[in-house]
Protein backbone atom coordinates (compact mmCIF):
# COMPACT_ATOMS: atom_id res chain seq x y z
CA UNK A 1 0.00 0.00 0.00
CA UNK A 2 2.77 2.42 0.91
CA UNK A 3 4.45 1.22 -2.28
CA UNK A 4 1.47 2.33 -4.39
CA UNK A 5 1.69 5.73 -2.82
CA UNK A 6 5.39 5.99 -3.62
CA UNK A 7 4.77 5.04 -7.26
CA UNK A 8 2.15 7.80 -7.55
CA UNK A 9 4.44 10.38 -5.96
CA UNK A 10 7.34 9.39 -8.22
CA UNK A 11 5.18 9.50 -11.35
CA UNK A 12 3.82 12.93 -10.42
CA UNK A 13 7.33 14.26 -9.76
CA UNK A 14 8.46 12.90 -13.12
CA UNK A 15 5.51 14.53 -14.88
CA UNK A 16 6.27 17.85 -13.19
CA UNK A 17 9.94 17.63 -14.11
CA UNK A 18 9.12 16.84 -17.73
CA UNK A 19 6.68 19.73 -18.01
CA UNK A 20 9.13 22.17 -16.42
CA UNK A 21 11.79 21.07 -18.93
CA UNK A 22 9.27 21.35 -21.77
CA UNK A 23 8.39 24.89 -20.65
CA UNK A 24 12.02 26.00 -20.80
CA UNK A 25 12.49 24.23 -24.13
CA UNK A 26 9.40 25.93 -25.60
CA UNK A 27 10.69 29.35 -24.59
CA UNK A 28 14.12 28.55 -26.09
CA UNK A 29 12.44 27.38 -29.29
CA UNK A 30 10.48 30.63 -29.47
CA UNK A 31 13.75 32.58 -29.25
CA UNK A 32 15.40 30.51 -32.00
CA UNK A 33 12.71 30.39 -34.69
CA UNK A 34 11.03 33.06 -36.79
CA UNK A 35 11.66 34.88 -40.07
CA UNK A 36 15.35 34.91 -39.11
CA UNK A 37 16.53 31.53 -37.76
CA UNK A 38 19.01 31.88 -34.90
CA UNK A 39 21.08 28.92 -33.75
CA UNK A 40 20.87 27.53 -30.23
CA UNK A 41 24.44 28.56 -29.41
CA UNK A 42 23.79 32.08 -30.70
CA UNK A 43 20.74 32.31 -28.40
CA UNK A 44 22.81 31.03 -25.45
CA UNK A 45 25.54 33.48 -26.37
CA UNK A 46 23.05 36.34 -26.37
CA UNK A 47 21.73 35.33 -22.95
CA UNK A 48 25.12 34.82 -21.30
CA UNK A 49 27.08 37.57 -23.07
CA UNK A 50 24.56 40.20 -24.22
CA UNK A 51 26.14 42.33 -26.95
CA UNK A 52 24.34 44.89 -29.10
CA UNK A 53 23.56 43.79 -32.65
CA UNK A 54 20.79 42.54 -34.84
CA UNK A 55 20.60 39.11 -33.19
CA UNK A 56 20.40 40.69 -29.78
CA UNK A 57 17.61 43.01 -30.96
CA UNK A 58 15.60 40.23 -32.56
CA UNK A 59 15.87 38.05 -29.46
CA UNK A 60 15.29 40.60 -26.73
CA UNK A 61 13.08 43.22 -28.38
CA UNK A 62 10.95 41.07 -30.67
CA UNK A 63 10.89 37.43 -29.69
CA UNK A 64 11.35 37.34 -25.90
CA UNK A 65 8.45 39.70 -25.03
CA UNK A 66 6.14 37.79 -27.35
CA UNK A 67 7.30 34.36 -26.14
CA UNK A 68 6.79 35.32 -22.51
CA UNK A 69 3.40 36.81 -23.32
CA UNK A 70 2.38 33.61 -25.10
CA UNK A 71 3.48 31.48 -22.15
CA UNK A 72 1.63 33.60 -19.60
CA UNK A 73 -1.45 33.70 -21.81
CA UNK A 74 -1.51 29.90 -22.22
CA UNK A 75 -0.89 29.36 -18.51
CA UNK A 76 -3.74 31.70 -17.56
CA UNK A 77 -6.16 30.03 -19.98
CA UNK A 78 -5.30 26.55 -18.66
CA UNK A 79 -5.64 27.71 -15.06
CA UNK A 80 -9.00 29.36 -15.76
CA UNK A 81 -10.21 26.20 -17.53
CA UNK A 82 -9.25 23.96 -14.61
CA UNK A 83 -10.93 26.32 -12.12
CA UNK A 84 -14.16 26.59 -14.10
CA UNK A 85 -14.33 22.83 -14.67
CA UNK A 86 -14.40 22.27 -10.91
CA UNK A 87 -16.64 25.29 -10.14
CA UNK A 88 -19.25 24.25 -12.70
CA UNK A 89 -18.60 20.51 -12.19
CA UNK A 90 -18.61 20.21 -15.96
CA UNK A 91 -15.88 18.60 -18.00
CA UNK A 92 -16.73 20.75 -21.02
CA UNK A 93 -16.29 24.05 -19.20
CA UNK A 94 -13.59 26.29 -20.66
CA UNK A 95 -12.47 29.85 -19.87
CA UNK A 96 -15.05 31.21 -22.28
CA UNK A 97 -18.23 29.67 -20.82
CA UNK A 98 -18.82 32.81 -18.79
CA UNK A 99 -19.10 34.94 -21.94
CA UNK A 100 -15.72 36.59 -21.36
CA UNK A 101 -14.30 35.95 -24.80
CA UNK A 102 -17.47 36.90 -26.68
CA UNK A 103 -17.72 40.11 -24.65
CA UNK A 104 -14.05 40.89 -25.26
CA UNK A 105 -14.31 39.99 -28.95
CA UNK A 106 -17.30 42.25 -29.48
CA UNK A 107 -15.49 45.08 -27.69
CA UNK A 108 -12.32 44.57 -29.74
CA UNK A 109 -14.21 44.31 -33.04
CA UNK A 110 -16.26 47.43 -32.39
CA UNK A 111 -13.04 49.33 -31.64
CA UNK A 112 -11.39 47.90 -34.79
CA UNK A 113 -14.35 48.80 -36.99
CA UNK A 114 -14.06 52.36 -35.73
CA UNK A 115 -10.39 52.29 -36.72
CA UNK A 116 -9.03 52.41 -33.17
CA UNK A 117 -5.36 51.70 -32.34
CA UNK A 118 -4.01 48.81 -30.27
CA UNK A 119 -4.37 50.54 -26.90
CA UNK A 120 -7.98 51.58 -27.50
CA UNK A 121 -8.78 48.12 -28.84
CA UNK A 122 -7.35 46.42 -25.73
CA UNK A 123 -9.29 48.80 -23.51
CA UNK A 124 -12.47 48.10 -25.45
CA UNK A 125 -11.87 44.32 -25.27
CA UNK A 126 -11.33 44.62 -21.53
CA UNK A 127 -14.56 46.60 -21.19
CA UNK A 128 -16.51 44.03 -23.17
CA UNK A 129 -15.14 41.14 -21.12
CA UNK A 130 -15.93 42.81 -17.80
CA UNK A 131 -19.40 43.81 -18.99
CA UNK A 132 -20.19 40.20 -19.94
CA UNK A 133 -18.93 38.97 -16.54
CA UNK A 134 -21.00 41.55 -14.68
CA UNK A 135 -24.15 40.52 -16.58
CA UNK A 136 -23.59 36.78 -15.97
CA UNK A 137 -22.75 37.33 -12.31
CA UNK A 138 -25.65 39.71 -11.71
CA UNK A 139 -28.17 37.35 -13.28
CA UNK A 140 -27.02 34.24 -11.43
CA UNK A 141 -25.51 35.10 -8.05
CA UNK A 142 -27.75 34.52 -5.07
CA UNK A 143 -25.98 34.79 -1.76
CA UNK A 144 -25.77 31.46 0.02
CA UNK A 145 -27.16 29.30 -2.75
CA UNK A 146 -25.41 29.75 -6.09
CA UNK A 147 -26.80 27.42 -8.70
CA UNK A 148 -23.81 26.56 -10.89
CA UNK A 149 -26.01 25.08 -13.61
CA UNK A 150 -27.80 28.40 -13.98
CA UNK A 151 -24.38 30.08 -14.08
CA UNK A 152 -23.22 27.76 -16.87
CA UNK A 153 -26.39 28.13 -18.95
CA UNK A 154 -26.51 31.91 -18.52
CA UNK A 155 -22.92 32.14 -19.77
CA UNK A 156 -23.66 29.92 -22.76
CA UNK A 157 -26.83 31.85 -23.67
CA UNK A 158 -25.12 35.22 -23.35
CA UNK A 159 -22.21 33.98 -25.49
CA UNK A 160 -24.66 32.90 -28.20
CA UNK A 161 -26.22 36.36 -28.25
CA UNK A 162 -22.84 38.07 -28.35
CA UNK A 163 -21.69 35.77 -31.16
CA UNK A 164 -24.59 37.00 -33.26
CA UNK A 165 -23.52 40.60 -32.63
CA UNK A 166 -19.91 39.65 -33.52
CA UNK A 167 -21.08 38.20 -36.85
CA UNK A 168 -23.11 41.34 -37.49
CA UNK A 169 -20.08 43.53 -36.79
CA UNK A 170 -17.96 41.40 -39.16
CA UNK A 171 -20.52 41.64 -41.94
CA UNK A 172 -20.99 45.38 -41.61
CA UNK A 173 -17.28 46.20 -41.11
CA UNK A 174 -15.27 47.85 -43.90
CA UNK A 175 -13.35 45.23 -45.93
CA UNK A 176 -9.99 46.63 -44.90
CA UNK A 177 -10.70 45.87 -41.23
CA UNK A 178 -12.07 42.36 -41.62
CA UNK A 179 -8.74 40.55 -41.75
CA UNK A 180 -7.55 42.16 -38.53
CA UNK A 181 -10.84 41.21 -36.92
CA UNK A 182 -10.53 37.57 -38.00
CA UNK A 183 -7.01 37.48 -36.56
CA UNK A 184 -8.32 38.78 -33.26
CA UNK A 185 -11.11 36.19 -33.19
CA UNK A 186 -8.67 33.34 -33.82
CA UNK A 187 -6.10 34.61 -31.34
CA UNK A 188 -3.23 36.92 -32.08
CA UNK A 189 -0.22 37.68 -29.94
CA UNK A 190 1.45 40.12 -32.34
CA UNK A 191 0.06 43.20 -30.57
CA UNK A 192 1.73 42.24 -27.29
CA UNK A 193 3.08 45.05 -25.18
CA UNK A 194 4.27 43.90 -21.76
CA UNK A 195 3.88 40.41 -20.37
CA UNK A 196 4.99 41.27 -16.84
CA UNK A 197 1.51 41.99 -15.40
CA UNK A 198 0.23 38.74 -16.88
CA UNK A 199 3.10 36.79 -15.29
CA UNK A 200 2.43 38.39 -11.90
CA UNK A 201 -1.28 37.54 -12.18
CA UNK A 202 -0.47 33.98 -13.29
CA UNK A 203 1.91 33.49 -10.37
CA UNK A 204 -0.50 34.93 -7.82
CA UNK A 205 -3.50 32.93 -9.06
CA UNK A 206 -1.52 29.69 -9.26
CA UNK A 207 -0.30 30.22 -5.68
CA UNK A 208 -3.85 30.95 -4.45
CA UNK A 209 -5.16 27.91 -6.32
CA UNK A 210 -2.54 25.66 -4.77
CA UNK A 211 -3.30 27.08 -1.31
CA UNK A 212 -7.00 26.26 -1.77
CA UNK A 213 -6.37 23.01 -3.63
CA UNK A 214 -7.75 20.64 -0.99
CA UNK A 215 -10.99 22.63 -0.78
CA UNK A 216 -11.20 22.51 -4.58
CA UNK A 217 -10.84 18.71 -4.49
CA UNK A 218 -13.85 18.58 -2.17
CA UNK A 219 -15.85 21.00 -4.31
CA UNK A 220 -15.71 18.36 -7.06
CA UNK A 221 -17.96 16.15 -4.88
CA UNK A 222 -20.77 18.72 -4.92
CA UNK A 223 -21.77 21.62 -2.69
CA UNK A 224 -23.53 19.61 0.03
CA UNK A 225 -20.79 17.03 0.48
CA UNK A 226 -18.11 19.74 0.51
CA UNK A 227 -20.03 21.67 3.15
CA UNK A 228 -20.54 18.54 5.25
CA UNK A 229 -16.76 18.05 5.25
CA UNK A 230 -16.15 21.56 6.51
CA UNK A 231 -15.58 23.64 3.37
CA UNK A 232 -17.03 27.15 3.35
CA UNK A 233 -18.50 26.60 -0.11
CA UNK A 234 -20.03 30.05 -0.70
CA UNK A 235 -16.81 32.07 -0.29
CA UNK A 236 -14.83 29.39 -2.14
CA UNK A 237 -17.17 29.53 -5.17
CA UNK A 238 -16.93 33.32 -5.24
CA UNK A 239 -13.15 33.13 -5.05
CA UNK A 240 -12.93 30.57 -7.86
CA UNK A 241 -15.26 32.66 -10.04
CA UNK A 242 -13.18 35.78 -9.41
CA UNK A 243 -9.86 33.99 -10.06
CA UNK A 244 -11.12 32.42 -13.29
CA UNK A 245 -12.55 35.76 -14.42
CA UNK A 246 -9.30 37.65 -13.78
CA UNK A 247 -7.24 34.96 -15.52
CA UNK A 248 -9.51 34.84 -18.57
CA UNK A 249 -9.80 38.60 -18.97
CA UNK A 250 -6.02 38.98 -18.70
CA UNK A 251 -5.41 36.24 -21.26
CA UNK A 252 -8.01 37.53 -23.70
CA UNK A 253 -6.72 41.09 -23.58
CA UNK A 254 -3.20 39.74 -24.13
CA UNK A 255 -3.87 37.31 -26.96
CA UNK A 256 -7.44 37.52 -28.21
CA UNK A 257 -9.85 34.61 -28.20
CA UNK A 258 -7.45 31.65 -28.26
CA UNK A 259 -9.41 28.43 -28.08
CA UNK A 260 -8.67 24.83 -27.13
CA UNK A 261 -5.98 25.34 -24.46
CA UNK A 262 -8.29 26.22 -21.57
CA UNK A 263 -10.47 23.21 -22.23
CA UNK A 264 -7.81 20.64 -23.02
CA UNK A 265 -4.72 21.37 -20.92
CA UNK A 266 -6.43 20.37 -17.63
CA UNK A 267 -7.86 17.24 -19.25
CA UNK A 268 -4.46 16.24 -20.60
CA UNK A 269 -3.00 16.49 -17.09
CA UNK A 270 -5.89 14.49 -15.64
CA UNK A 271 -5.41 11.82 -18.32
CA UNK A 272 -1.74 11.68 -17.38
CA UNK A 273 -2.90 10.65 -13.91
CA UNK A 274 -2.92 13.83 -11.79
CA UNK A 275 -6.41 14.59 -10.44
CA UNK A 276 -5.57 16.42 -7.20
CA UNK A 277 -5.80 20.19 -7.70
CA UNK A 278 -2.51 20.70 -5.85
CA UNK A 279 -0.81 19.12 -8.86
CA UNK A 280 -3.43 19.69 -11.56
CA UNK A 281 -3.41 23.51 -11.34
CA UNK A 282 0.35 24.20 -11.67
CA UNK A 283 0.92 21.45 -14.21
CA UNK A 284 -2.02 22.62 -16.36
CA UNK A 285 -0.55 26.12 -16.33
CA UNK A 286 2.86 24.79 -17.42
CA UNK A 287 1.31 22.70 -20.18
CA UNK A 288 -0.93 25.54 -21.40
CA UNK A 289 2.03 27.92 -21.46
CA UNK A 290 4.24 25.42 -23.32
CA UNK A 291 1.62 24.61 -25.95
CA UNK A 292 0.76 28.24 -26.64
CA UNK A 293 4.42 29.26 -26.84
CA UNK A 294 5.11 26.50 -29.38
CA UNK A 295 1.91 27.29 -31.31
CA UNK A 296 2.79 30.97 -31.48
CA UNK A 297 6.30 30.16 -32.68
CA UNK A 298 4.78 27.99 -35.40
CA UNK A 299 2.32 30.78 -36.30
CA UNK A 300 5.23 33.21 -36.73
CA UNK A 301 7.47 30.77 -38.60
CA UNK A 302 5.36 28.50 -40.80
CA UNK A 303 4.48 31.12 -43.42
CA UNK A 304 7.22 33.65 -42.57
CA UNK A 305 7.33 36.56 -42.98
CA UNK A 306 3.51 36.29 -43.11
CA UNK A 307 2.06 35.69 -39.59
CA UNK A 308 -0.90 33.37 -39.02
CA UNK A 309 -3.46 33.40 -36.19
CA UNK A 310 -2.12 31.36 -33.29
CA UNK A 311 -5.53 29.77 -32.61
CA UNK A 312 -5.11 27.65 -35.73
CA UNK A 313 -1.88 26.17 -34.40
CA UNK A 314 -3.10 25.50 -30.84
CA UNK A 315 -5.70 23.25 -32.43
CA UNK A 316 -3.32 21.75 -35.01
CA UNK A 317 -0.78 20.87 -32.31
CA UNK A 318 -3.25 20.02 -29.57
CA UNK A 319 -5.89 17.97 -31.32
CA UNK A 320 -3.65 15.04 -32.43
CA UNK A 321 -1.97 14.97 -29.02
CA UNK A 322 -5.31 14.87 -27.21
CA UNK A 323 -6.76 12.24 -29.54
CA UNK A 324 -3.71 10.07 -28.95
CA UNK A 325 -4.00 10.46 -25.16
CA UNK A 326 -7.73 9.69 -25.26
CA UNK A 327 -7.36 6.62 -27.43
CA UNK A 328 -4.72 5.18 -25.09
CA UNK A 329 -7.09 5.46 -22.09
CA UNK A 330 -8.93 2.30 -21.23
Amino acid sequence: MAGDHLVVVTRTALLGFMLAAASVASLATALMFGSLPIGFTAVLDSIVFPAPGIIHDVIWNLRAPRAFAAFACGGLLALAGALLQVLLRNALADPYVLGVSSGASLGALLALSLGAGAAAMNLSAFGGAVAALVVVFGLTYRSGDWNVYRLLLTGVVLSAGLSALISLTLVLAPDAQVKGMLFWLMGDLSQTTSALPAWLILGALAALGVAASFQLDLLALGDLKARSLGVAVGPLQLGVFAAAAVATVTAVVLGGAIGFIGLMAPHAIRLAGATSHRILLPLSALLGGTVLTLADTAARTAWAPQQLPVGIFTALLGVPAMLLLLSRQR
Binding site: M1, D4, H5, R89, A211, S213, F214, Q215, D217, L218, L219, A220, L221, G222, D223, L224, K225, R227, S228, L229, G230, V231, A232, R270, T275, S276, R278
Partner: protein
Amino acid sequence: MLSCTDLTLKVPGRELCRGLSVAFEPGQAWAVLGRNGTGKSTLIHALAGLAAPAAGEVALDGVALDTLSARARARRLGVLLQMESGTWWGTVLEYVLLGRFPHASPLSGYSCEDIAHAHAALGQVGTGDLAARKLVTLSGGERQRVRIAQILAQQCGIVLLDEPLQHLDLAHQAQVLNLIGREVRERGQTAVMVLHEPLWIGRSCTHAVILNGDGSAVAGPAADVITRERLEHAYGCALREIGDGGGRSFVPDV
Protein backbone atom coordinates in the same frame (compact mmCIF):
# COMPACT_ATOMS: atom_id res chain seq x y z
CA MET B 1 -25.35 15.39 22.04
CA LEU B 2 -27.30 16.38 18.96
CA SER B 3 -30.78 17.76 19.56
CA CYS B 4 -33.53 19.54 17.71
CA THR B 5 -36.11 21.76 19.33
CA ASP B 6 -39.49 22.71 17.85
CA LEU B 7 -38.13 21.84 14.43
CA THR B 8 -40.42 22.66 11.51
CA LEU B 9 -39.37 21.61 8.01
CA LYS B 10 -41.05 22.79 4.83
CA VAL B 11 -40.69 22.34 1.12
CA PRO B 12 -42.62 24.64 -1.23
CA GLY B 13 -46.32 23.96 -0.70
CA ARG B 14 -45.92 21.36 2.03
CA GLU B 15 -45.04 20.99 5.68
CA LEU B 16 -42.87 17.93 6.30
CA CYS B 17 -42.75 18.04 10.07
CA ARG B 18 -44.02 20.44 12.69
CA GLY B 19 -42.54 21.22 16.10
CA LEU B 20 -40.33 18.13 16.32
CA SER B 21 -38.16 17.95 19.42
CA VAL B 22 -35.73 15.07 19.79
CA ALA B 23 -32.52 14.50 21.74
CA PHE B 24 -30.15 12.11 19.98
CA GLU B 25 -28.02 10.83 22.87
CA PRO B 26 -24.65 9.05 22.76
CA GLY B 27 -25.02 5.28 22.54
CA GLN B 28 -28.29 5.49 20.62
CA ALA B 29 -28.95 4.25 17.09
CA TRP B 30 -31.91 6.05 15.52
CA ALA B 31 -33.93 4.97 12.51
CA VAL B 32 -35.68 7.65 10.46
CA LEU B 33 -38.68 6.06 8.80
CA GLY B 34 -41.44 7.14 6.47
CA ARG B 35 -42.78 6.87 2.96
CA ASN B 36 -40.95 8.33 -0.07
CA GLY B 37 -41.05 12.11 -0.09
CA THR B 38 -42.02 12.55 3.56
CA GLY B 39 -38.89 14.55 4.38
CA LYS B 40 -36.41 12.02 5.74
CA SER B 41 -33.48 13.44 3.75
CA THR B 42 -34.60 16.99 4.53
CA LEU B 43 -34.52 16.06 8.23
CA ILE B 44 -30.99 14.63 7.85
CA HIS B 45 -29.87 17.83 6.04
CA ALA B 46 -31.37 20.00 8.78
CA LEU B 47 -29.73 17.92 11.54
CA ALA B 48 -26.43 18.19 9.65
CA GLY B 49 -26.66 21.96 9.38
CA LEU B 50 -26.76 21.76 5.59
CA ALA B 51 -30.26 23.25 5.25
CA ALA B 52 -31.89 25.86 7.46
CA PRO B 53 -35.18 24.72 9.06
CA ALA B 54 -38.33 26.80 8.55
CA ALA B 55 -38.51 27.15 12.32
CA GLY B 56 -36.82 25.72 15.38
CA GLU B 57 -33.22 24.97 16.19
CA VAL B 58 -30.65 22.20 15.90
CA ALA B 59 -27.99 22.19 18.60
CA LEU B 60 -24.78 20.31 19.32
CA ASP B 61 -24.27 20.03 23.09
CA GLY B 62 -26.62 22.95 23.55
CA VAL B 63 -24.79 25.21 21.07
CA ALA B 64 -26.80 26.21 18.00
CA LEU B 65 -25.39 24.37 15.00
CA ASP B 66 -25.39 27.45 12.74
CA THR B 67 -23.05 29.30 15.12
CA LEU B 68 -20.32 26.66 14.67
CA SER B 69 -17.81 26.94 11.83
CA ALA B 70 -18.22 24.44 9.01
CA ARG B 71 -14.92 22.87 10.00
CA ALA B 72 -15.70 22.53 13.71
CA ARG B 73 -19.03 20.95 12.76
CA ALA B 74 -17.39 18.53 10.33
CA ARG B 75 -15.08 17.25 13.07
CA ARG B 76 -18.06 16.13 15.15
CA LEU B 77 -20.79 15.39 12.60
CA GLY B 78 -20.35 12.98 9.70
CA VAL B 79 -22.97 12.95 6.96
CA LEU B 80 -23.57 10.22 4.38
CA LEU B 81 -25.67 11.88 1.68
CA GLN B 82 -28.13 9.82 -0.31
CA MET B 83 -26.61 11.19 -3.52
CA GLU B 84 -23.50 13.15 -4.38
CA SER B 85 -23.86 15.61 -7.22
CA GLY B 86 -20.20 15.53 -8.25
CA THR B 87 -17.92 12.93 -9.77
CA TRP B 88 -14.61 11.88 -8.24
CA TRP B 89 -12.10 10.95 -10.92
CA GLY B 90 -9.35 9.88 -8.52
CA THR B 91 -8.70 6.63 -6.67
CA VAL B 92 -10.72 5.01 -3.90
CA LEU B 93 -8.02 5.81 -1.35
CA GLU B 94 -7.94 9.47 -2.38
CA TYR B 95 -11.73 9.59 -2.08
CA VAL B 96 -11.75 8.12 1.44
CA LEU B 97 -8.92 10.48 2.39
CA LEU B 98 -11.28 13.41 1.72
CA GLY B 99 -13.09 12.31 4.87
CA ARG B 100 -9.97 13.36 6.81
CA PHE B 101 -10.22 16.94 5.53
CA PRO B 102 -11.78 18.31 8.77
CA HIS B 103 -8.78 16.96 10.70
CA ALA B 104 -6.04 17.75 8.18
CA SER B 105 -4.26 21.06 7.69
CA PRO B 106 -6.16 22.97 5.00
CA LEU B 107 -2.84 24.23 3.57
CA SER B 108 -0.44 21.31 3.73
CA GLY B 109 -3.00 18.54 3.45
CA TYR B 110 -3.14 14.96 4.59
CA SER B 111 -0.55 13.34 6.87
CA CYS B 112 0.66 9.74 6.98
CA GLU B 113 -1.68 9.30 9.94
CA ASP B 114 -4.61 10.43 7.79
CA ILE B 115 -3.63 7.91 5.12
CA ALA B 116 -3.46 5.18 7.78
CA HIS B 117 -6.97 6.13 8.97
CA ALA B 118 -8.25 5.94 5.40
CA HIS B 119 -6.73 2.47 4.88
CA ALA B 120 -8.16 1.28 8.19
CA ALA B 121 -11.64 2.55 7.26
CA LEU B 122 -11.46 0.79 3.90
CA GLY B 123 -10.52 -2.41 5.72
CA GLN B 124 -13.49 -2.08 8.10
CA VAL B 125 -16.00 -2.28 5.24
CA GLY B 126 -14.03 -5.01 3.48
CA THR B 127 -12.79 -2.89 0.58
CA GLY B 128 -9.09 -2.75 1.44
CA ASP B 129 -8.16 -4.35 -1.89
CA LEU B 130 -9.93 -1.57 -3.84
CA ALA B 131 -7.70 1.24 -2.53
CA ALA B 132 -5.79 1.84 -5.76
CA ARG B 133 -8.79 1.50 -8.10
CA LYS B 134 -10.45 4.53 -9.70
CA LEU B 135 -13.70 5.26 -7.87
CA VAL B 136 -15.69 5.45 -11.11
CA THR B 137 -14.84 1.83 -11.97
CA LEU B 138 -16.54 0.38 -8.87
CA SER B 139 -19.94 -1.29 -8.79
CA GLY B 140 -22.84 0.46 -7.02
CA GLY B 141 -22.50 -1.65 -3.89
CA GLU B 142 -18.71 -1.31 -3.73
CA ARG B 143 -19.02 2.44 -4.11
CA GLN B 144 -21.60 2.57 -1.31
CA ARG B 145 -19.21 0.75 1.04
CA VAL B 146 -16.40 3.11 0.06
CA ARG B 147 -18.70 6.06 0.79
CA ILE B 148 -19.36 4.59 4.23
CA ALA B 149 -15.59 4.13 4.71
CA GLN B 150 -15.17 7.86 4.09
CA ILE B 151 -17.61 8.60 6.95
CA LEU B 152 -15.75 6.14 9.20
CA ALA B 153 -12.44 7.84 8.36
CA GLN B 154 -13.98 11.17 9.38
CA GLN B 155 -14.19 9.73 12.95
CA CYS B 156 -17.13 11.72 14.23
CA GLY B 157 -19.03 11.16 17.46
CA ILE B 158 -22.28 11.61 15.56
CA VAL B 159 -23.08 10.11 12.14
CA LEU B 160 -26.11 10.95 10.01
CA LEU B 161 -26.58 8.28 7.35
CA ASP B 162 -29.11 8.76 4.56
CA GLU B 163 -29.92 5.27 3.26
CA PRO B 164 -26.65 3.59 4.29
CA LEU B 165 -27.90 0.23 2.98
CA GLN B 166 -28.75 1.26 -0.59
CA HIS B 167 -27.18 -0.96 -3.28
CA LEU B 168 -25.83 -3.40 -0.65
CA ASP B 169 -26.45 -7.14 -0.74
CA LEU B 170 -27.84 -8.88 2.36
CA ALA B 171 -24.47 -9.87 3.78
CA HIS B 172 -23.07 -6.36 3.39
CA GLN B 173 -26.24 -4.81 4.84
CA ALA B 174 -25.62 -6.92 7.96
CA GLN B 175 -21.91 -6.04 7.94
CA VAL B 176 -22.54 -2.30 7.78
CA LEU B 177 -25.27 -2.37 10.44
CA ASN B 178 -23.05 -4.48 12.75
CA LEU B 179 -20.22 -2.03 12.21
CA ILE B 180 -22.41 0.95 13.10
CA GLY B 181 -23.98 -0.96 16.01
CA ARG B 182 -20.53 -1.69 17.43
CA GLU B 183 -19.44 1.97 17.17
CA VAL B 184 -22.67 2.97 18.95
CA ARG B 185 -22.43 0.40 21.76
CA GLU B 186 -18.71 0.35 22.38
CA ARG B 187 -17.70 3.92 21.64
CA GLY B 188 -20.87 5.76 22.54
CA GLN B 189 -21.39 7.05 19.01
CA THR B 190 -24.75 8.47 17.97
CA ALA B 191 -26.12 7.16 14.68
CA VAL B 192 -29.16 8.51 12.85
CA MET B 193 -30.06 6.40 9.81
CA VAL B 194 -32.68 6.69 7.14
CA LEU B 195 -33.75 3.08 6.62
CA HIS B 196 -36.27 1.43 4.35
CA GLU B 197 -35.51 -2.18 5.11
CA PRO B 198 -38.23 -3.50 7.43
CA LEU B 199 -36.03 -6.53 7.93
CA TRP B 200 -33.50 -4.52 9.90
CA ILE B 201 -35.53 -1.75 11.53
CA GLY B 202 -36.59 -3.81 14.52
CA ARG B 203 -33.21 -5.33 15.27
CA SER B 204 -30.62 -2.68 14.60
CA CYS B 205 -32.04 0.51 16.14
CA THR B 206 -32.55 1.54 19.72
CA HIS B 207 -34.80 4.49 18.76
CA ALA B 208 -36.86 5.69 15.82
CA VAL B 209 -38.46 8.78 14.29
CA ILE B 210 -41.44 8.13 12.02
CA LEU B 211 -42.48 10.90 9.64
CA ASN B 212 -46.11 10.37 8.68
CA GLY B 213 -46.08 12.73 5.74
CA ASP B 214 -48.83 15.03 7.04
CA GLY B 215 -46.54 17.08 9.26
CA SER B 216 -46.98 14.78 12.25
CA ALA B 217 -44.12 12.67 13.55
CA VAL B 218 -43.48 10.17 16.34
CA ALA B 219 -40.12 9.80 18.05
CA GLY B 220 -38.93 7.63 20.89
CA PRO B 221 -37.46 4.28 21.97
CA ALA B 222 -37.82 1.52 19.40
CA ALA B 223 -39.99 -0.59 21.71
CA ASP B 224 -42.62 2.19 21.85
CA VAL B 225 -42.37 3.57 18.33
CA ILE B 226 -41.69 0.60 16.07
CA THR B 227 -45.04 -1.13 16.28
CA ARG B 228 -47.01 -2.75 13.52
CA GLU B 229 -49.86 -0.20 13.81
CA ARG B 230 -47.57 2.83 13.58
CA LEU B 231 -45.61 1.41 10.63
CA GLU B 232 -48.83 0.48 8.81
CA HIS B 233 -50.07 4.03 9.32
CA ALA B 234 -46.76 5.51 8.13
CA TYR B 235 -46.31 3.30 5.06
CA GLY B 236 -50.01 2.99 4.22
CA CYS B 237 -49.88 -0.75 3.72
CA ALA B 238 -50.69 -3.85 5.75
CA LEU B 239 -47.72 -5.47 7.54
CA ARG B 240 -47.03 -8.77 9.23
CA GLU B 241 -44.70 -8.96 12.21
CA ILE B 242 -42.20 -11.79 12.41
CA GLY B 243 -40.45 -12.38 15.71
CA ASP B 244 -37.52 -14.64 16.42
CA GLY B 245 -34.71 -14.73 18.97
CA GLY B 246 -32.80 -11.94 17.24
CA GLY B 247 -35.54 -9.31 17.22
CA ARG B 248 -38.54 -8.22 15.23
CA SER B 249 -39.00 -7.83 11.49
CA PHE B 250 -41.87 -6.58 9.39
CA VAL B 251 -42.90 -7.80 5.97
CA PRO B 252 -45.72 -6.48 3.76
CA ASP B 253 -48.89 -8.53 4.21
CA VAL B 254 -49.88 -9.11 0.63
